[in-house]
Structure formats: structure tokens, C-alpha cells
């Protein structure tokens, strides 16, 4: 865990309303793993007060990338940063995806901005594993396939490709993946993660998801980010410290 002031190198709108920010941050780049996140202070003033969590989207040499849309005040300020402005980063935080289990085929299932952590995961896996990416969104503009490979897409309104949600799309494609040792990596809204969990558990597929939740600190001191554990009903796990990536078997989403 570091706190660094890192200069923005570039910010671009990779598709309508979706921003990719490239940040020069060698220390973080060296340490961070896919699925881990950064807690970013977007302003020196007291509004917004708290840091904002973002998944590491990708790493290239000394540069890290984050991907976001303008959601509220914090992301708006972030989108207005100029090259050379510095941003205050606390990270790397949380546990990333476990990529040393026993699998030969990685399946990425993402909804909307849930695609954010996967360019980096894809970069690390693509030479050694087969990858299938199932990417969904409400509508054509919400489908983000940036730097992913072997992509199939779904939209809730049918405006692009498969008409339905991304978990249905994944499920329909399951038969074609039958003889592989799968591991599923999921990220997206909770409703989607719940559906994904059901599919994976009933098909006995190893699945990790990156979860989201309101956070204050990001490193375990505020207790602001509880998530119900399947094993212990007498205490919560913390999304920031015990997650944000969990095996679906371990948490009640």
C-alpha cells in the first residue's frame, strides 16, 4: 500500500462517455495485480471528501490505466484532469483475481463498466490460456469491449447482437465450452453477479467476481464495506480488504 501523487499522462474518451485515464505511476504499476483497485482523491478541497475506488484497468510499463464514466461529482472532476495534473492515489488495494488455480480456459463475464478490470487480466492471461469474453450492457452504448479478446456481446434492449443479459448469453454458450477446465471471472452490477453465481454453482464452475460497494477508506479501517459471508454468519467480510474479488462460493451477493 502506497500513497503517491502521480501525473496524468493522457485522458481519452474511448467510446461515448467512457474515459480511459493513463497515469504515470511506476511504483503502483510494479505492484498491482488484476482485480486490485486504487482509491483516488480527486480534489484537494473537502468536496468530494472521500477517495473514489477504481479497478486497475490495465498496466503498461510504468503506466497504469483506469476506466470510468461520469457518474457523479468525483468522476466529473476526474474527467476534467489535464495532462500533467497529478492525482493522489492510494493503492494497490484488496485482493486481485487468483490466476494460479487449475484452469486452462478463462471466461470473462462483464456487464457495463464491469469490463474495467479485464484488459489487464486479458493481457496477463492471453498468451497462456484460451479466453472467452462475454460482455453485456443495457444498450449498444454501454457495451465496452476495449482491449478484450474473443468477445461475444449482449444487450438488454437488443440494440447489439444477443438480445438479453450477458449471463444468459454465457449460459447459452456453456455447452460449447464443455470439455474445458473453465474459470469464470465476473464483474458488474450485483444482480448480474447473483445470476452468474447461480449459473456457475449449478454447473460446478470455478468463479471469481469483483464486487462493489460504498467505501470510505479502502484498506480496512472504517468497516464501511461489509459483505455477507457464506461460512460465518456472525460476521461480515470486508469488500475492500477481503475482496473486492471473491470466489462466489464464499459470499452472499
Amino acid at each position: 500500500m502506497l500513497i503517491v501523487n502521480s501525473p496524468v499522462e493522457e485522458i481519452k474518451e474511448i467510446q461515448k462517455d467512457i474515459f480511459l485515464q493513463k497515469i504515470y505511476s511506476p511504483e503502483i504499476a510494479r505492484q498491482i495485480k488484476p482485480g486490485q483497485f486504487l482509491n483516488i482523491r480527486v480534489s484537494e478541497t473537502v468536496t468530494p471528501l472521500l477517495r473514489r475506488p477504481f479497478s486497475v484497468c490495465d498496466v503498461e510499463g510504468d503506466y497504469i490505466f483506469i476506466m470510468f464514466n461520469i457518474f457523479g461529482e468525483g468522476t466529473k472532476i476526474l474527467s476534467h484532469k489535464h495532462k500533467g495534473d497529478t492525482i493522489d492515489i492510494l493503492g494497490p488495494l484488496g485482493n486481485g483475481f487468483n490466476i494460479s488455480d487449475d484452469f486452462d480456459t478463462a471466461v470473462i463475464v462483464a456487464g457495463g463498466l464491469g469490463a474495467a478490470p479485464f484488459p489487464y487480466l486479458t493481457r496477463l492471461l492471453k498468451d497462456k490460456f484460451e479466453i472467452f469474453s462475454f460482455i453485456g450492457g443495457r444498450s449498444i452504448n454501454d457495451v465496452i469491449t476495449f482491449n478484450l479478446v474473443n468477445v461475444k456481446t449482449a444487450t438488454d434492449d437488443g440494440s447489439l447482437d444477443y438480445f438479453g443479459n450477458v449471463v444468459q448469453l454465457f449460459e447459452e454458450n456453456l455447452s460449447s465450452l464443455k470439455n474445458k477446465k473453465l474459470k469464470v471471472f465476473g464483474c458488474g452490477p450485483n444482480a448480474m453477479l447473483r445470476a452468474l453465481k447461480d449459473v456457475c454453482i449449478s454447473n460446478n464452475i470455478n468463479c471469481e467476481v469483483s464486487t462493489e460497494c460504498a467505501m470510505a477508506c479502502g484498506f480496512g479501517i472504517c468497516q464501511g464495506c461489509p459483505i455477507e459471508s457464506t461460512e460465518q454468519s456472525d460476521k461480515y467480510l470486508l469488500v475492500c480488504k477481503d475482496g473486492p474479488v471473491f470466489n462466489v462460493k464464499d459470499v452472499i451477493i
Binding site: I3, R51, A216, F219, G220, C222
Partner: protein, 305 residues
Amino acid sequence: MSKIDLSVNIASLKLRNPIMLASGTVGYGNEIAEFVDLNKIGAIVTKSLSLKPRKGNPPQRITETPAGMLNAIGLANVGVEVFLKEKIPFLKQYDVPLICNIAASSVEEYVECTKILTEEETIKAFEINVSCPNVKEGGLQFGNNLSAVGKVTEKVRAVTNKPLIIKLSPNVSYISEFAKVVKDEGGDAVSAINTLVGTAFNIFTRKPKVQNVFAGLSGPAIKPVALAKVLEIHQKVDIPIIGIGGIMNWKDVVEFMIAGASAVQIGTLNFIDPTAPIKIIEELEKYCEQMSITSISELTGSYII
């Protein structure tokens, strides 16, 4: 080496400087130790402990507000037993006064917790939380009731000789009346303030943003209120005050001390910049130098009104 004396006293408790880390904002010290050299801090206050472990409230527990945040953690904590077994060993490694904050839902539970913990010599003082707005029992039921605060102080006082600090609720008309009761019943100091009661709603779902509905407001937004409470106590009651609420930098610390605080606690700021407490200590020293203050305790209650 500097000649400025940053040390302060809270009753018989001597701190190397007035910067304490507030209950509920540093857990049990292990995470924050990655950022802060605990040996440089005035004191550390644990997350509120209860007799038995508490799971705390279901999510969502926090939300941001203008220059502040609401929390309703619900006193999630490991309980006295696990604390002694698993958390104390880590804290023992450091030369920093450890203050145990206790929360309970009955006078008996406060007493019981204190009795058990007072045996542990690593614990240098107690801070009794009678003012948590986020639990159904205990909490404000005690904190907004003069005789309950008196009773808790009296009964806990009877079972420990260690410095006894009562953390007061700001959700009252005249906080100095509570400070007076604490003094009368043998308390050594008061902490002011705990969070203000607040809430927030999502305007599309019409649901409360924090699951518990009512939550505690902290952060810079509450600083003027906290300062007024500290000043009120200082003007009315002769008891050491630990100032808390919205401290973001060294200037805020000086402001609290001028208003009457002997020491201060840093809360929400730890979430935003866990390295801040150390920076603040350094900057306080510079301020004292610049203002020709040889002992920082001169600042306490030095307002010119």
C-alpha cells in the same frame, strides 16, 4: 532537536503530543500502522468494544455528504475476549498509549467490559462511548440522558483506577451539563464530540442511503459545531477536553486547542489520508516555533473573547 514541548496531559495520562487517533477510524491499529509510525502518535483509541462480538449493521453503512460522511457501522467489533487475545499483541509492540473505547447497551455491560480490560496493563485509559447514534440499545439512549451518563460514569469509575474519559454526544442542547455530571461522578476527562445524527435519501428509490436510516455525521462539515461544544464545556466546567470533529489539518488542531481542547482526535481524515496525523504533528511544531510557543499546552483555552 527542537525545544518545543508538544506533550500534553489528560488527567494523569501524559501524551507525547496532542494527536490521538479516534475510535472507529483506525480499527485496532494494524492497518493504519502501514502508514503511520504509531510510536510518534499521542495516543490510539480502539474501535468501540463490547462484551460480546458484534456483527454490526448490514450494508449500506456509509454515504458521503457535503464536506462530510454519514456512517452507521453499528459498532461492529470483535468483542473484549478476541481483542485481548488477538489484537493486543500487535499493539503491545508499540510505545503508544492505548486507550480502549467501550460501548455497551447497559450500565452492567460497561462495568463488565471495563473490569476485564482494566487488568490488561497495555491499556492506559478508557474512553466510554455513551453517544453512538447507530445502535438500537445503548448509544443515544445513554448519551442524551444526564442521569444515565452520571450513572455510567459512577459505576465504571468504581472498577478502574485508570484515567476515565467519557465521550459525549453532541446531540444535546447544553453539552456542558453532561461534562459537569462526568466531573461530579469522578470522570477524568471528556471527549467531544461524537457524530451528529443525520440521514440521507436516494431520491429515485426513496430509500435511505444508509440502511440503518439514521446515521452519524462526521468530517469537516461538523467542525464548527464541535468547536462550539468544546468552547461551551471549557467556559462552564473545569475538566480536560479532548476535541474531535472534522479535523483536516494542523490549523484545525490549533483551533480546537484554542477553543479549549487539551488534545484532539483525528477521525474521518484517517480514511482520506492516513499519513496526515504525522504531518500534522510536524506542522504543529512549526506553528509553535513561529508563534514562539514553548509548550503546546499553552494553547488550551487561550481564546481571547
